[in-house]
Amino acid sequence: MDIAFSNEDLKFQSEIRDFIKTNYPQELRDSINSKRKLGKELSREDLTAWHKILGKHNGWSAPSWPKQYGGAEFTPTQKYIFEQECAKAECQYIMPFGINMVGPVIYTFGNEEQKAQHLPGILSGEVFWCQGYSEPGSGSDLASLKTSAVKEGDYYIVNGQKTWTTMAQYADWIFCLVRTNPEAEKPQQGISFLLIDMKTPGVTIRPIKLMDGSHEVNETWFDNVKVPVENLIGQENMGWTYAKFLLAHERSGIAGVARSKKAIERIKQIASSEMSYGEPLIQDPAFKAKIAAAELELSALEYTELRTLAKDSAGKGPGPESSLLKIKGTDIQQAVTELAMEAVGYYANPHLGTTLSNEYVGPDYATNLSGTYFNFRKASIYGGSNEIQRNIIAKMVLGL
């Protein structure tokens, strides 16, 4: 057992650190910070600028992708270091839909034309992807999805509705699970994986406002949308297999250990400024105990993630154990967003950035912390709710 960084790892670490220092644009930092404080939506440019910079540098936008597809093919240790450094420097995170989700599906199950058409745009950040999985009637029971795709000549005619489509407002493409065989014995057997250009006639989106007022997710409708058969990934009716593969990838990313660490550091700073009973809040035994509990959980999770990474390096992709990372990672994210809100006392109240008020009030560090808390209730629901993750572990790991 040895978790010490090798000299090469340390060199890699300082390389990443230097790269971020030199290349992360100050304008981007300022733009994102000022919008965050006022609870305003980030633009497509805000979301993709850092991705585009990394995409031009040895495939760093895609740490896990194989080199042959232009990725960085980092070792597990390098991936860990990379995430740590990006989180420490508070870099904008890379949208997962292209890089972590559809990308690996395309290079694993797609044909040569599909790889050539889509991978470069995902890597560079020029093409923005979104995910068409959930439907109004199909949340945790994803396999019950109804959006239909009927083959007519060289096209699939797609009809139906997707929902919770994150950032569809910026997306160029959507990857969708569609039902190609409604007669299949099991619902999982009649599903296919389709790539759909968002500009195709018949695709419309409508924003869904979340409880913090943010616009992240959308409803997406498909009304007789003609999708070329070349856009089918792998085999027809095999989409469920690809979807499961993708879900495992999705989960491994959402532990968010490095970012939660950074968040705890921020909370400690805030709690050093906030006063309670005439003393810094950080000295309050009850508050202190909650921070410590979050730190311990995070320390343990960090090593759970390292253990998973070390196992991955033995050549296996992320397995059902990644459900554990999802459950614990989101537990901690929620605990941390709650602590941050709690730390600022009354200044949890102001809701800035609405049409009613565009001015800052209160301490700089306090703005929108309650918004983030409310927003993050989503974390234990998306990507397969934490209850569904427990079902997965029960079945796949414990064999129940």
Partner: protein, 392 residues
């Protein structure tokens, strides 16, 4: 980065695993804990033959020069078998103090005796009023000519009844709670002035109350420097805490696995109770707690324990977090076993009891939580860390 054992560590792991499998089946263990002695000399002899008693000691004294990972391997497997022989008190706790503080002469005379299995030792540090505070020492030692005269009382000394030697902490200077002024003494358990009141513990180990009345100890049997023992005590208790955590992780694995098996096999309402989602999710949460406990143990074991700040921080983090896991996994194991969980006859309650008592050993969850907080947060409010408040 890797979490694999080296070849030697794999051999050690296999060796201890087969010892437990071959010598510690349930009936055998029941007989050992019911016996007058509360341990089995034959097993101790085997530990010696297998080299287990020498794991942490320097090669210069005949040891194997093992590190914290090696001790983790031994203790984790002992945990799985609920091995009651006094390995932790003798080899890790007392042995650790002797290695750390002993003179060449002391080390040469005692360590090879421990390694060969000829003697066992125990460390008497806790007192009725001290709770987990290692600095709270009332037992006094007063120099009188060439001898110290000790008076006082030590509580719940694990393994004392099986030991030929005790290491006793006593106050030679300072106030009752002062870190300086604590001195260690090595004494023969048969010494005049020493009375042991032996008893079994709730988890079937053995401990003793030690009454010290005008116990004479020669100056030659002071261990380490007079008045200066505190740092070493804290360090060796920290190392022993990691060992206790390792034992706990072994126990938690058994609790998790055996409860999962039990739920698969137990049928109610015409089906295995593991078909119920409410049971499944509890089992999953037990697994998650076990994995988190194991992870934080790995954090402690792989940390730089030579730095005392780092050591204290990771040890308290591990003990506090594992303490939480012990409670959840242990109580869940009993609950899911239903009536079978609460009886003495079935194994699960014994694992639960041992895990729970490890929760107390060397400081419980709250105690280590507080220590962790003191180590990680007290300095944070200094002005350079605080964000300036700007109100517009």
């Amino acid at each position: 980065m890797n979490f694999d054992y080296t070849e030697e560590q794999t051999l050690l792991d296999n060796m201890v695993t087969s010892f437990v499998r071959d010598n510690y089946d349930w009936d055998t263990r029941c007989n050992i804990v019911k016996s007058e002695e509360g341990w089995k000399a034959e097993n101790w002899k085997q530990f010696a033959e297998l080299g287990l008693l020498g794991v942490p000691f320097d090669e210069a004294y005949g040891g194997l020069g093992g590190k914290s990972t090696d001790l983790m391997i031994v203790m984790e497997q002992f945990g799985k078998g609920l091995v009651v022989e006094p390995y932790l008190p003798t080899v890790i706790l007392a042995g650790g103090l002797i290695s750390k503080l002993g003179t060449e002469e002391q080390k040469n005379s005692i360590i090879p005796e421990i390694i060969s299995g000829n003697i066992r030792c125990a460390f008497a540090y806790a007192e009725p009023q001290s709770r987990f505070d290692l600095n709270d020492v009332k037992t006094s030692a007063v120099l009188n000519g060439d001898d110290y005269v000790l008076n006082g009382f030590k509580s719940v000394v694990f393994g004392a009844g099986m030991a030929s030697h005790l290491i006793i902490s006593a106050r030679t200077d300072g106030d009752q709670r002062s870190e300086s002024g604590i001195t260690l003494f090595i004494v023969d358990t048969k010494s005049e002035g020493l009375t042991l009141q032996n008893y079994p513990t709730i988890d079937e180990y053995r401990a003793s109350e030690v009454i010290i009345e005008n116990l004479k100890v020669s100056k030659d049997n002071v261990l380490g420097k007079v008045n200066m023992a505190y740092d070493a005590i804290e360090e060796i208790v920290d190392i022993s805490t990691i060992a206790a955590c390792s034992e706990a992780v072994g126990i938690l694995q058994v609790l998790k696995d055996s409860t999962t098996e039990y739920c698969k096999n137990r049928k109610q309402f015409g089906q295995s109770i593991a078909k119920n989602q409410v049971i499944q999710h509890r089992l999953v949460d037990m697994m998650i707690e076990y994995e988190q406990a194991k992870s934080i143990l790995y954090m402690a074991v792989t940390a730089d324990l030579s730095s005392s700040d780092e050591r204290k921080k990771v040890v308290s983090a591990a003990k506090a977090r594992i303490g939480k896991a012990i409670k959840f996994v242990g109580e869940s194991a009993i609950q899911l076993h239903g009536g079978m969980g609460v009886v003495d006859e079935y194994m699960v309650s014994h694992y639960f009891k041992r895990a729970t008592m490890i929760g107390v050993l060397f400081g419980n969850t709250d105690y280590h939580m507080k220590r962790y907080m003191t180590l990680t947060q007290s300095g944070i409010s200094s002005s350079d860390e605080a964000i300036s408040v700007s109100v517009t």
